[in-house]
Assembly symmetry: D2
Homo-oligomer: 344 residues x 4
Amino acid sequence: MIVNMSDSATEQQIDHIIQRIREAGFQPHVTRGTERTIVAAVGSNGRRHEIEALSVAPGVDTVVAIAQPFKLVSRQARPDSSVVDVGGIKIGGPEVVVIAGPCSVESREQLFETARGIKRAGATMLRGGAYKPRTSPYEFQGLGMEALKILREARDLTGLPVVTEVMSTEDVDLICEYADMLQVGARNMQNFALLRRLATINKPILLKRGPSATVKEWLLAAEYLLSGGNHQVVLCERGIKTFETGTRNTMDLAAVALAKELSHLPVIADPSHGTGKPSLIGMVSRAAIAVGADGLIIEVHRCPERALSDGAQSLDIPQFARVMHSLGDPLRPVLAVGERPTQA
Amino acid sequence: MIVNMSDSATEQQIDHIIQRIREAGFQPHVTRGTERTIVAAVGSNGRRHEIEALSVAPGVDTVVAIAQPFKLVSRQARPDSSVVDVGGIKIGGPEVVVIAGPCSVESREQLFETARGIKRAGATMLRGGAYKPRTSPYEFQGLGMEALKILREARDLTGLPVVTEVMSTEDVDLICEYADMLQVGARNMQNFALLRRLATINKPILLKRGPSATVKEWLLAAEYLLSGGNHQVVLCERGIKTFETGTRNTMDLAAVALAKELSHLPVIADPSHGTGKPSLIGMVSRAAIAVGADGLIIEVHRCPERALSDGAQSLDIPQFARVMHSLGDPLRPVLAVGERPTQA
Amino acid sequence: MIVNMSDSATEQQIDHIIQRIREAGFQPHVTRGTERTIVAAVGSNGRRHEIEALSVAPGVDTVVAIAQPFKLVSRQARPDSSVVDVGGIKIGGPEVVVIAGPCSVESREQLFETARGIKRAGATMLRGGAYKPRTSPYEFQGLGMEALKILREARDLTGLPVVTEVMSTEDVDLICEYADMLQVGARNMQNFALLRRLATINKPILLKRGPSATVKEWLLAAEYLLSGGNHQVVLCERGIKTFETGTRNTMDLAAVALAKELSHLPVIADPSHGTGKPSLIGMVSRAAIAVGADGLIIEVHRCPERALSDGAQSLDIPQFARVMHSLGDPLRPVLAVGERPTQA
Amino acid sequence: MIVNMSDSATEQQIDHIIQRIREAGFQPHVTRGTERTIVAAVGSNGRRHEIEALSVAPGVDTVVAIAQPFKLVSRQARPDSSVVDVGGIKIGGPEVVVIAGPCSVESREQLFETARGIKRAGATMLRGGAYKPRTSPYEFQGLGMEALKILREARDLTGLPVVTEVMSTEDVDLICEYADMLQVGARNMQNFALLRRLATINKPILLKRGPSATVKEWLLAAEYLLSGGNHQVVLCERGIKTFETGTRNTMDLAAVALAKELSHLPVIADPSHGTGKPSLIGMVSRAAIAVGADGLIIEVHRCPERALSDGAQSLDIPQFARVMHSLGDPLRPVLAVGERPTQA
C-alpha cells in the first residue's frame, strides 16, 4: 500500500507514518519527490486496515491500495480453473451448463411439465424457487417446504440436479436435504451471516453478483465461502443497476471475462434477470458463452403470462427450445490463443 | 395498471387481455386510439403481478403500473408524520436527533471515552457495531456479545440510548436484550428473512437504504416491517453507488425529501458513509438538516487513524464537536410554507 | 399518453385536463376507477410536450408516455435493416466489419505501419484521430489537418476506407474532403449543433453512444441526423458509466441487441473503450458479434506503451491479429430462429 | 505516479520501466517488496500520459496516478475563493445569488412577466433559453436570435443580468452581444471545441456538470477555460445520472462541497434539473445553500403547464416566491469553524 503525503507534510508527520507502518507489520519505504513524498508499506503479512486508516493522519493526502485484497479465490492462488460438480454435472469444464426452470415452484404439475420441457430442449440442471426474495411483502413469497419436496421429486423424475435459493441461515439444513446446489441471491451477496453459514456445508453454492457490487466485492464475498472451508463455489453475473431503463438491469458481460481472469472459479450468466426482456435472452445467452461463461441460468415457465413471479421475463418452453437450438453445437467455442494467458 | 397493446394487436388478443384482467380481480376499461389500444385494469383489490405478467401475452407492447405499490408506509395511509421513541429520544419530532459513536466497539475504554465525548458535544444517542458486515473476511468482524455488554454499560454510564446493527435472525433476541434500537445495514436492506423476523419484535428499527435501492424499493423494505406488525421504523439515507469516485458513495439528499413526501416515517442521514470524507461531513450534515432530515448518524472515534474499521471516514471528538457547533441552534430550521403540502 | 389523476382530483380538475388534451391535438378518453381517474390522450398528431407539462396541473399525479418518441430510426418505420456503404464496405450486411487503427494519428510512419498491419490481420476499415477530445487540456490534442492528410495517404496506400472524429461544426467541410466516414464521439452524442450540421452532408456518420445516454436518447440523437436528411448512420456502443471500476466503462452488450430490435440502423461495438483492458478485448469482441453487432472498432497501435493517447487500452499488431483469428470464420454466426421477430 | 510491477516481473522488465520513466521526464524511484516491486515516477514536469501507457508494458500490473491532474482551477494554485462578476452581481462572495427564469424564452410577454415576478421575489439574475438542447428533434428548439433580443430587453427593463446557453462555436459572438453570462449545458461539458472558443472571450461562463462527469472531469473541463485565458468561470451542479427514477437526476450535493474544497471557483446548484420535481425544489435549494453553494439557478414559468419546455419541473411565480421566502435571511449561513481548512 502507498501512503501519499500532502505537499505541506512535515518531517515529523512523515516520521509518524513510517512508525505506524512498522507497527502495522509492514516495512516502510520512503520516496521523496520534488513536491511530495510517498511512503510505501511493503510486505504481505501486515494489517491493511491500519494503513487504510492513515488517510486521516496529519500530513496525509491519500492512501492507495496496490495489491488485490482476495486470496483463495484468485488465479494467483490457483492458476488452474476450478470445476464444481453438482450431482454429476461439471460446471467449469469443457461443456457449457444450462440451468433452466421457473422463477418459483408453483405446483407439482407446473414444475414437472417445465422440467420435462427444459430437459428435452437440452438443459442439464433445474432451477426453481421455494423461498422467494420479493421486493414487496404483498407479492408471492414461495411455497417453502412444499416446493422443496416437489423439486426433489422433479429431480428424481428427470435426473436433473436441482438448484434453489436459500435466504436465511435457518433454512440451510432443510434445503441441504433437498437440493443439489444452494443459490445466494443477488440481494444477499453481502449477507455475511449467511455466507459464513454456507462456508461450513458440503454443498456447491451459486453466488449471484449483487446489483451494485463491483467484481472485487463479488470475489470477496466468494472469499468468505472459501476461507470458511467451502471451495465449491460458482459465480453468477445477473446484471447491475445503472441508469438504463430499457432493460431491467445492465448485463455486465465483460465482468464475466474479468472475473475469470482474476479468479479460478467458474462463472455463469443469467440473461433473464440481466435483461428482463424475453426477446433479448437468446442473443445475450450467445454473447455470454462467447465471452467465456461456463454456463447459463434461464427462467422458463410453461405459461409465462400466468406465472406467480417474474412472468414478464420468462420464456415459455418452445421459446427456450429455440434459444437452445441457437446456441449451436459444440456449445463452447474455441478460445483465442493468447487472450487469457493466466487461464489453464 | 395500464396494458398497452401493440399496433398490430388483433381483436382476439385484446379480448384475451380483457378476460385476464377480469380474472385478476380488476375491471377492464378499453381505450381505442387511432394507432393503438390501451386497456386499463381498474380497482384496488386485484392481483397486480397477474397484470404485470401480461407483458408477455400476445399483442401486448408494455404494461405500466400507475399506483404506488406500498400501503402502510405511505403518507396517504397516514398523513401525520410518525414519531419513533427510542429510549425517550423522539425521532421525527421537532428536534433533530444526532446519533454518534464508533463504527465498531473495540474496547470498554474506547467506547466510554467516545460516548462521553459525543454526549458533551450534544449527541443524544450512541452508535457502535458489535457484529460488523465487512466486505472482506480478513477484516475485523466485531467483538459480538462482548461489544453488546460494553454498549449497555456505556448507555448506563451516559444515559444515551444505543443503536447497533443486527446481521442475522439468529442474533435478534440477544441484541434486543442490550440495545434500544436495531439497525438493518445497507447491504441487508433486502434481507427479507431478517426483515420478517424484525417485524415481530417490539423494538425500533433503523433501516438503511441499500446502495442500489430506489426510494420505492426502500419504502417496500419498510413495508415488510410495518405489514408484519412493527411500526417503529426510522429510515436512513447513507449514499448510493454511482460512477463518482471522489466520494465513497453519492449522498442522495433529495431522496430524504422524497421519502418524507411519500411516507410518514422519519428519515435520518448518514454523512459518514455517504461521503467517506471527514472534510465533507460538516457541510453535508447541515445540508441534510436543511433538506428535512429528522436526524444524523455520524461515525466518531477517539483516534480515527487507529480505528479497527472505517477510520478513514471517522471524525475525532474535537472535529465532531465543531460539526455540532456548526449545526446551530435551533437545529430544525423553519419549514417553507406550501413546500410539502402532503405533510402535516 | 396517460394522465393519471390523483385520488383527490375534483371533477373540475378532470374537465380542465380533458380540455387541455383537446387543445394539444389529442382525443381525451376518460377511465374512472374506484379510487382514481385516468385520462388517455389518444392520437398520433398531437403535441406531446403539452401533455408532459400537465404533470404540474392541479389534480394530476403523473403523466406517462406510452409510445416511443422516435420515428425515422424505428423498425416500425422501416422493418428491413439498413446497410450503410462506406467506400465500398457495407456495414449492416451479412459480414461483420472490423475497423481498427490508432487512437490518434501520430506520424506518417506510425499510421502506415499500423494500417498495413491491421489490413494483413483482416480489418476492412481504418480509424485514426486527427482532432482528439481529451479530458485534460494538457493532453495531446491531435495533429489536426496534418493527420487528415496522413489518413488520406494511408487509405490510398491500403485501400481501407477511413473514419475519423469530428468535434466541431467548423471542421465538417474539411474532414469531409479527407475521410470516408465521420465519427461523433461519445461526449458529443448530444451536441445538437453538430448533429444538425452533419444531417446536411452526404457522408456516413458513426454515432457513438454517450456514456450516460439511454438507448432511447441514443436513438433520438440518430433521429436528428435522419430527420435532417442524412440516413447513412451507424450506431456504436462503447460502454456506459457505472460504479464498476474494474473496467474503464461497462460494455452494455444487451443494448446492441435492444438497439437493433428498436431500430433498423446498423450497430457496431467498441470493446477498446468499453473495457479499457487489452486482456478483455478479444472475449468481448466475440460476445459483441454473438449478440448481433454488425461490426467492431478496435484501437491498435504499433507500440501501445509509446502511444500519445489511449495506449493503456490499445492492442499491438500481433495481439490484434490473434483477436481477429479468434473471431473465426464465418464471422457472422447463424441467427436464432424466432429470436428477433421484428427484424427482416 | 506509481508503476506497480506484477509478481512475476523480471529484472529486465523493471529496468525497462526505469528507463521509460526517465525518458518521460520523471525520476524513477524503486521500492522492492517481498512479493512485488513498485517504481515511482517522481517530479512535476514529466509527461504523465507516457507513464499511463506503461500499464501495457511487459511485467506491469497497474499504473496509479497520485497527484490531481488539474492546475489553474485548484485551491493549491489559488487558496482564496474566486469571485466572478456578472453585470455587477458577484458570484462567490458573501451573498448567495439566485438566478431564475423560464427554460425557454417563448415570447416578450412571457419573459417580461416572469422577469418582473422573479425580481419581486428576490432573484438577482435572469435565465432564459434562446438555443435549446433538446433530446428529440421534434421538440421546441428555441426562438434563437429573437429570444436574445427579448432577453436584452428584459435585462434593460429589470436591471437583472442575463445568462443564456450557447450550444455552438458559431453562436458565440452573437450571444456575447446580448448576454451577460454564457452557459455551457450539461451535455456540452466536454464539447472541447466549444470550451476552447469560450476560453478566448471576455464574458463569464456558467459551466454545468455533465450527467456522467466525475468532479475531476468537471474541473478539467473548467481547466480548458482557465488555461485558454478565461478565468471568469462558475461551476453548476445539476444532478447526475443514476439508477434512481424517483427524481429526474440525482442531485450530488456533496459534490458542491467537494468542488469547493478542490477548487477556488464558485459553485452554484440547479435543483430544477437536479430533481425534476417542483415539490422538492424548495428543500433542495435550502440544502444546496447549507452545503456551501454560492448560488441557485431555478426554472420559473408564469404558467408551467403551458411551457414549451421543462414545464413539468418549473415553478410558477407564487411557488418561487415561497421558495425564496423559505431560504431565509441572511441567505448565507455561518460557516463551520475548521470544516474547510483549505478555504479562505
